[in-house]
């Protein structure tokens, strides 16, 4: 049994916080991480795993308090500037699916009256919280940006841990305007002021300098990666741009995210140069796929099928750099602008514009919108996105499924739809 399977089995058999803490402590030891890292197919894959485990270990260690839960669309530079160790329950729900724990966390959530209709990222995270698989939070910062379920399910976490006074909801206006910027800026400033009064830190703009500098560097490298991918003909089989959701959001403002994105760039550049020398023009060009929304995080065949059928995911909308550079001299306003720039908030027109531009820039032959059960913000716009892509001759497959609950879709049906779509692209 390989190391990954041993870990998986170990966690499944010992479902408690103490065991997870102990395990993360062992895994995150530098020699273990680097020895383990050698088994990965690329440097970026290695760093992704190392930094993910290290960030989890920090959140599970009481030495790194205060610990803050954050929802996905929060600017995490805020956490690093305030000295809060972030923990992302939605991302952890993806990990629980990958570890094969989701059936247990979902079952636990059901027994606590979480609705079957609730998105499984939040349902699984809530079940994991009920099972005490997550560290105890000191603060919770969430928002109503794009996702409505986070603010509500996260509030339940605050009640469970008796920290309602440390629960902060950022109300992001629907439209981008200077009035909205002012409204949001004031909220972020108030949150920072309140947290600093609780942590005893003096609120000063200098505390944002390092995190913002690193975030801007991440932004620069993420744009470089995107530019490189526009003309990339082929990809390493191990590359999956949908795996970078934690560094792109939760590690924004850290040195680790910058290192990782530099490595992604180097890996892809190296592969591109090698491809160029060896076989450009000899191989049948791959079909270029634009991926919309997320993917299933449990074991599935989707990406193997795509690769086998000579289709390459050339861009994922979750990797779109939508925000302007941050200015530490205007920290609250900068973060407000970042949040308001998110194309998943507000009118569907913003998402359509991003999708059409990505389809054009990345020369997409087709698009796949993974329609995750219960995700209103994404699924609500599926039809209009499909219609708009059709106007520029890009066929779209709306693939119904579930990112976390493997029992909520049939692998056979997913496979048939996917293969049928590939046959259409090849016809």
């Amino acid at each position: 049994m390989g190391i990954k399977n041993r870990l998986k089995t170990g966690i499944q058999k010992n479902l408690n916080l103490r065991y997870i803490k102990r395990l993360l402590g062992i895994i995150a030891l530098k020699p273990v991480l680097y020895a383990y890292g050698k088994t990965f197919p690329s440097a970026s894959d290695k760093y992704l795993n190392i930094f993910t485990i290290e960030s989890l270990k920090k959140a599970y260690s009481d030495n790194n308090r205060p610990i803050g839960y954050g929802s996905l669309f929060i600017p995490y530079e805020l956490f690093y500037a305030l000295g809060i160790t972030p923990f992302l329950p939605e991302v952890m729900a993806g990990f629980t699916a990958g570890l094969g724990l989701a059936p247990q966390t979902l079952k636990e959530a059901s027994s606590h009256w979480y609705s079957q209709d609730l998105c499984t990222f939040h349902r699984s995270a809530s079940g994991a919280a009920e099972l005490d698989l997550f560290p105890r939070p000191d603060y919770i910062i969430t928002s109503n940006l794009a996702c409505d379920a986070a603010q509500k399910s996260f509030y339940i976490h605050s009640v469970k841990h008796n920290i309602e006074k440390n629960y902060y909801l950022i109300d992001v206006p629907y439209r981008y305007s200077e009035g909205s910027i002012r409204y949001l800026t004031a909220q972020i400033k108030n949150i920072c002021t309140d947290i600093c009064s609780k942590t005893g830190k003096k609120l000063d703009i200098s505390m944002f300098e390092e995190a913002f500098g690193l975030s801007n560097e991440l932004r620069k490298w993420a744009i470089e990666v995107g530019s490189l991918r526009k003309n990339l003909v082929d990809y390493p089989p191990s590359f999956n741009g949908l795996n970078f959701i934690l560094p792109f959001h939760g590690l924004a403002g850290t040195r680790e995210a910058v290192i990782l994105y530099k490595e992604i760039y180097r890996d892809l550049k190296k592969y591109s140069d090698k491809q160029h020398k060896e076989s450009l023009g000899k191989k049948k060009p791959a079909k270029r796929i634009l991926w919309l929304h997320l993917k299933p995080y449990y074991r599935n065949e989707i990406f193997d099928i795509l690769y086998r059928e000579n289709c390459r995911v050339v861009f994922e909308e979750i990797n779109h750099v939508y925000w302007p550079e941050l200015d530490y001299k205007k920290p609250f306003e900068s973060l407000a602008r970042k949040m308001l720039s998110n194309f998943l908030g507000g009118s569907i027109d913003k998402r359509i514009d991003v999708t059409l531009k990505a389809a054009h820039d990345y020369k997409a032959d087709g698009a796949i919108l993974f329609s995750h059960w219960g995700c209103r913000q994404s699924n609500g716009g599926a039809r209009i996105i499909k219609d708009n892509l059709k106007k520029i001759n890009v066929p779209t497959l709306v693939l119904d499924g579930d990112c976390v609950d493997q029992n909520n879709s049939s692998q056979g049906q997913v496979k048939t739809r996917l293969q049928g779509f590939i046959e259409i692209l090849n016809s």
Binding site: P395, D400, S410, G412, Q413, T416, Q419, G420, E423, I424
Partner: protein, 256 residues
């Protein structure tokens, strides 16, 4: 040169052998049962026997349907979307829309220039499929073959509100318990399938000419209800159940 298409569905397995002049030399429709691999092999052998051919005379075989990946003697597997489209186009060359209702699967395929450009399949629920009708026939203790004459002679219907097969069965049992005329229930059931399929067709976008394939296309009650709901005339193949296998046999020819 002969080619063969095998459509392994959840309920039935169909085999078509085609000669080089596009003539169907034999076809077989058999129950799939619990072992789809064995069912495919048996149906293939039976079709060879009917055609008076040896296996070595079959140039290539394409498998389709949910059991397509489990046919070791097939040269290639292709989804039922492409196969139904190709089969239907071979029968009605100008088609724009194909509606296929099989045992546990219903799909709508949109065509352009004879090629599929979009499709929609039912989700994991079997409502609106042949299995739905079978379960209801059992609950009503009426032969499925009698549904069409009952549909034709009954003027009124009772709306069946449940889409889930299990809930619809309970609803029917309850209606029978309340003394509702079984004929009206049957008419209501047929319209409930037509409603469900109409929604799927509207999502993909209705364009004429339209063809209906699959075993349920043999039920003229469902065909009429669908024609009424969609407001179009449906083209029905002489043997609608073998359309997927026929398309697979055509696509097997393209392998050379």
């Amino acid at each position: 040169m002969y080619t063969c298409g095998i459509d392994v569905g959840s309920v039935s397995t169909e085999v078509v052998i085609l000669d080089n002049k596009n003539k169907i030399v034999s076809y077989v429709i058999a129950l799939t049962g619990s072992n789809s691999k064995n069912a495919a092999k048996a149906a293939f052998e039976s079709s060879l026997k009917k055609a008076g051919l040896k296996e070595s005379e079959i140039k290539s075989i394409v498998a389709t349907g949910y059991g397509r990946i489990n046919i070791p003697f097939a040269n290639k597997n292709i989804t039922e979307i492409s196969c139904h489209a190709r089969g239907a186009i071979s029968l009605f060359p100008d088609l724009k829309t194909v509606i296929d209702i099989g045992g546990q699967d219903s799909k709508v395929i949109k065509l352009e220039g004879g090629n599929p450009i979009d499709f929609l399949m039912n989700d994991k629920c079997a409502a609106g499929t042949g299995r739905f009708l079978e379960v209801m026939a059992k609950a009503l203790e009426i032969n499925l073959e009698d549904f069409t004459p009952i549909f034709n002679r009954t003027s009124d219907k009772v709306d069946i509100t449940s889409t889930c097969t299990v809930f619809a069965e309970s609803e029917i049992v309850s209606l029978i318990g309340h003394g509702v005329d079984k004929n009206k229930i049957i008419k209501g059931l047929i319209y409930s399938i037509a409603d469900r399929i109409t929604t799927m067709v509207e999502r993909v976008g209705l364009e004429e000419p339209v063809c209906m394939t699959g075993g349920v296309a043999k039920n003229m009650g469902v065909v009429r209800a669908l024609e009424e709901k969609l407001g179009v005339k449906l083209n029905i193949p002489d043997e609608p159940q073998i359309t997927g296998a026929l398309g697979a046999a055509y696509l097997a020819r393209d392998l050379h």
